[in-house]
């Protein structure tokens, strides 16, 4: 993880101390999500959520550190081999679409020449690379991008991956609910931002009542965050608000060494 994480206010429950609980059978089988927002999206996040589910949100300036922080928080609830082998299923349809759109715009830009970083930024998985180094995670990650279906499909995938004997983290990266989320590779600060959520799957293969998944709406920008809201209503005891952390310099997209490229 790079960049600072906002310090939780006094009395807030840190992510890692949250219990990993199996929910009652009438509640969807995911643990209280770790969640966060890029700094540009924090106001929208608080407007939308009010009560931050599962603890204070992680705040990062850029989507890469944000996503890695949130995924790391969820994975840290596991230990040893369970963490090492855990699968991550990431719903990221909108980031993929925006990355391709941005690349297309850059390709047509007659003033600004295309850069190696533009090529690298096409890959949304680049936002996750490096996650495992600090926390001993070496499991698979699946980045799902079917428009409007990636969140539900992520939950289905979590279901069958868990049935195969793995612990599973389901995660989501979505634009801020004002609808003006930034491109995940945007360099400029002050952009409206991104919201990430990740949660441990705690259920079994038959625990997923898909028909009961909450609809995506303006105040619940994705399926997993919709679930977060449901869970927050069930068991988050108190509102926790976090001050916006200091804005960090924009995350630099490394330029590949052409001699090292695949």
């Amino acid at each position: 993880m790079t960049g600072p994480v906002a310090t939780p206010p006094a009395g807030a429950v840190p992510f890692d101390a949250l219990p990993v609980a199996v929910l009652p059978s009438d509640v969807l089988p995911i643990d209280a999500p770790a969640a966060g927002a890029s700094s540009g999206a924090l106001a929208a996040w608080l407007d939308a959520r009010g009560d931050a589910p599962g603890g204070p949100p992680v705040v990062e300036a850029e989507p890469g550190p944000l996503l890695r922080a949130v995924l790391g928080a969820a994975l840290r609830r596991l230990t040893g081999e369970e963490r090492g082998r855990a699968a991550v299923v990431l719903a990221a349809d909108e980031p993929c679409v925006r990355a391709a759109t941005r690349y297309g715009q850059r390709w047509t830009d007659t003033v600004r020449r295309l850069r190696p970083s533009d090529s690298v930024a096409l890959e949304t998985s680049e936002l996750v690379r490096g996650l495992g180094e600090d926390i001993g995670w070496g499991g698979p990650l699946y980045l799902l991008a079917a428009p409007g279906a990636a969140g539900r499909q992520a939950l289905l995938a979590a279901c069958f991956l868990a049935a195969g004997g793995r612990r599973v983290v389901v995660a989501e990266l979505v634009p801020a609910p004002d609808g003006a989320g930034a491109d995940p590779a945007e360099e400029s600060a002050g952009q409206p931002g991104w919201i990430a959520a990740a949660a441990l799957w705690t259920g079994g293969p038959s625990d997923l009542p898909l028909e009961e998944l909450p609809d995506t709406g303006p105040d619940a920008p994705g399926t997993l965050l919709g679930l977060a809201r449901t869970l927050a209503e069930v068991r988050t005891p108190a509102a926790v608000r976090v001050p916006v952390g200091a804005r960090t310099p924009a995350e630099a997209v490394p330029v590949p060494d052409p001699e090292e490229s695949r």
């Binding site: 715009q105 680049e126 799902l144 590949p256 090292e260």
Partner: protein
Amino acid sequence: MTGPRPQIALTGLGLVTAYGAGVDPYWRGLLSGCSALRPAERFASATWYQGEPVGEVPMAGGGPDAPGPDGGTRKQHLLETALAEALAAAGLPGLPAGALVVLVGQAPAVGAGAPPEAAELVGPRLRAAEGVPLFGGAPFYLSHACASAAFGLALAREALLAGAVRTAVVLGASALNPLEYASMKVVRVVSPRAARPFDRAGAGITIGEGAGAVVLEDRRSARERGRRGGLLLGSAVCRVAGNSPAASDDAVVADCVRQACEEGGVDRLDYVHAHATGTAQGDAAELRVLDGLADGLGQKELPVGSHKGAVGHLLHASCFPAVAAAALALRHGIAPPTPGLTDPAPAERLRLPTAALAVPGARRALLTSFGFGGNNAALTLHRAQDGTA
């Protein structure tokens, strides 16, 4: 999960490459050692194009820019051609209800503001899935750079192992387009001559186009409907990790191939179909890892090949020709040569054939697939003990 793990059979395979439509033309082309790479008709009039060879699919009638015969995009046409072959090979009349369909690519679509040329960068829409009640309601779309197809096969295998579905179809396509070409040119990996994987004179990659589709089934289900199911996807390991967004990381690659062999119960390999794009660094890293793997397995002349000097690098779909090469190597007991390879780089325990090599009784093959963004994957294919591949 209780009870024995099911075996996952590969029951259908479809392919389109610069050798033409079909698995057979590809296999024959690969065995011939002849490269299908040549200057792009499609880019011939483009001012930015510098005449590098590409792996362009010969499209019957209408010239290189023609859409598919049914009005879809070129990419759609390639995809649907591969899918039709795979379904026919599996004895399926169409995508089965309840099947998991995993479509791989860069992104499912682009938003407003993208140029029209981006239509071949994203998607394609899978028309054959429309109206079919698939697992998850729609095709899963997976994006893992040039390792996307391998990640798709890994995800499908997990769904089959868990018993969530009985059939899975993994498919993807790549059509030559100026946007993806520019994305490779700007990182300076495109070779001015046809790619020469594993060759001391390798100078980079050659971009190709094409499509692939793989039908996977629980082997018991496949046999119940009369399929032999003799070729198995023994293991599939994938990771997003590494030190660089664009370079192979020896440690991660080594970890993937070791895990794939362990999970597949592989104590001896008969063939490896490597990612090997033709870049000096990437090929060297892969050779180091495979050499170490051969050492660990106690093998001295492990045959290793690549198709990228034959049909080019199919980017997100690049693992499909690898699956076909490995599957046919097991079926025929032949390790295909690597077209473009004339002066093999040194590798102590590997054999880099420049002509077809007999591997009698071949039973197990390893495939590797890598991509930008830290995407790494390794798969093993096995001939079933009680059947032919």
